[in-house]
Amino acid sequence: MSTAIDISDLHVTIGGSHILQGVSLQVASGEVVALLGRNGVGKTTTLRALMGLVPRTGAVRVRDQDVTRWPPHRIARLGVAYVPEDRDVFSALTVGENLRLAEQVAAPNYDGVYELFPELRQRTRQRAGTLSGGQQQMVAVARALLNEWPVLVVDEPSKGLAPRLVSELTDVLARVSATTTMLVVEQNLAVVRRLAQRVVVLDHGAVVHQGPVADLEDARLMRQLLGVSA
């Protein structure tokens, strides 16, 4: 199986803080990997560094291309869709404009996106800033799915959502994962169990554990790594 994402010895320093201290991880094509860890260990920074959104050193390869020095837009065009933490929808733009902005292929898959999120079809003229948190998350995920890109990078998709919406969104991501490589940061272990085949645990800006998702069932290990009872 080829490697879709290959990060090695990734270092990020922001404002004098050495946030990532040599992160290395791989995601095989078609695989879903969950990036776990306590708050502030560098999970979001790892995804932002992968996308080229923060200055970094080390090596980042995506779909067999060395993208370490590439700007974010070139990395994305390689086929990497990104759903950031806190959604980052453009609040002054309508839902339709948010989706239009994401179009990068000749035939964006609007039918597929509206099938997954029927509610968005009725809200294309509504300003994204007036949507609820759940609806904004739908826009953020829809934006990422529009081009049917082969790699999906998702940062805390369930954050701040009601349980019913978490369940619906997890269903969508599970459907997408059948055809897409995914690297997902997620605190909700039920979501991780549903989506991921493998987990990577960060602590103090470095990988401290990698293993199959079944490792989540090891209560002692989870308490040690995440400080939670799995």
């Binding site: 996308m51 700007p71 837009h73 994305a76 453009f90 002054a92 733009l93 239009r100 081009n147």
Partner: protein, 301 residues
């Protein structure tokens, strides 16, 4: 009543020039966080390009056509110089605001110095159609034709910009970029192209503002420092309207033009009150900032 109507019309025409000068400045700051002190230079170069072409190259054309050539020359010169400025000087300095301010101030000083050396410090007279200095009589009103030209230009640019920002893909990119540049990049969009385009657009509008400022308010005269004088009011308009907001710039330009013209007319003839118009504008700025520190429309495009 007639005086009030004449005065209002004149103030709105002045506002149109302020809007043309400020809208590009506002877009450039809103999208790129660049405080562009060379914007006054784009205005000056627009006026000089129009003067040079209409005085030396196209004199055989009829006066209206010659003026139209001048308008196009001003727009192209402003846009071209602004685009080159972004590509050569600003692009290597993104994320370094102090360096950007210094280099744009330096560019302005150097270019104005070159203009002074090349053309002298005296104002130059631009050939314009005589009807620009005439007035249209409407009932008891005397409305200067030059004011009409400024007003039409301002409205056309406002409507055109609104259409561009709301209906075109680049417009959507620019509006999104004002809100969150990183996310636009992460969607696979080269924001650098949008940056250059915004500079070109801003420079083109500045060039037009420079020409209209010469024609409407300076008695067809072009001078090396005219853009810098206009730049101060453009900055005030941008701050009152809200950095990055085109609608804000339009409303703020109207406020500034009206306050300045009315103050000058009603108070400026009193002894020691010659600068009351400018002072009133600064007071307006202070009041708005006290009331709304981010400007009237801060945060929206």
């Amino acid at each position: 009543m007639t005086v009030l109507a004449d005065l209002t019309f004149s103030a709105v025409a002045l506002s149109a020039v302020y809007f043309l000068a400020a809208s590009g400045l506002s877009l450039i700051y809103g999208l790129m966080d660049v405080l562009n002190f060379a914007h006054g230079l784009f205005m000056t170069l627009g006026a000089y390009a129009a003067w040079d072409l209409t005085t030396h190259l196209t004199t055989q054309l009829s006066a209206p056509l010659n003026f139209a050539v001048g308008v196009v020359a001003a727009i192209l010169a402003g846009g071209l110089v602004a685009g080159l400025t972004e590509l050569w000087l600003i692009r290597p300095l993104y994320g370094r605001p102090i360096s950007q301010i210094l280099i744009t101030i330096g560019l302005d000083l150097a270019a104005v110095g070159l203009l002074l050396g090349g053309f002298g410090s005296n104002s130059l007279s631009m050939p314009v159609p005589l009807w620009l200095f005439e007035a249209t009589h409407w009932g008891s009103l005397n409305l200067p034709n030059a004011d009409f030209v400024a007003l039409i230009a301002g409205v056309v640019v406002l409507v055109g910009l609104e259409w561009f920002l709301r209906r075109t893909r680049y417009g959507i990119i620019i509006r999104a970029g004002v809100e969150n540049r990183d996310m636009v990049r992460a969607l696979g969009i080269d924001v650098g192209r949008a940056f250059t385009l915004v500079f070109v657009l801003g420079g083109a509008m500045a060039g037009l503002a420079g020409l209209l400022n010469s024609v409407v308010f300076s008695g067809d005269l072009v001078s090396p420092l005219q853009g810098d004088g206009l730049l101060i009011f453009a900055f005030i308009v941008v701050v009152i309207g809200g950095l990055g907001s085109i609608r804000g710039s339009a409303v703020a330009a109207l406020l500034v033009g009206v306050v300045q013209d009315f103050s000058n007319y009603y108070l400026g003839t009193h002894p020691g009150m010659a600068e009351i118009g400018n002072l009133s504008v600064v007071l307006l700025l202070a009041v708005v900032l006290e009331w709304r520190p981010r400007g009237l429309f801060g945060g929206t495009l």
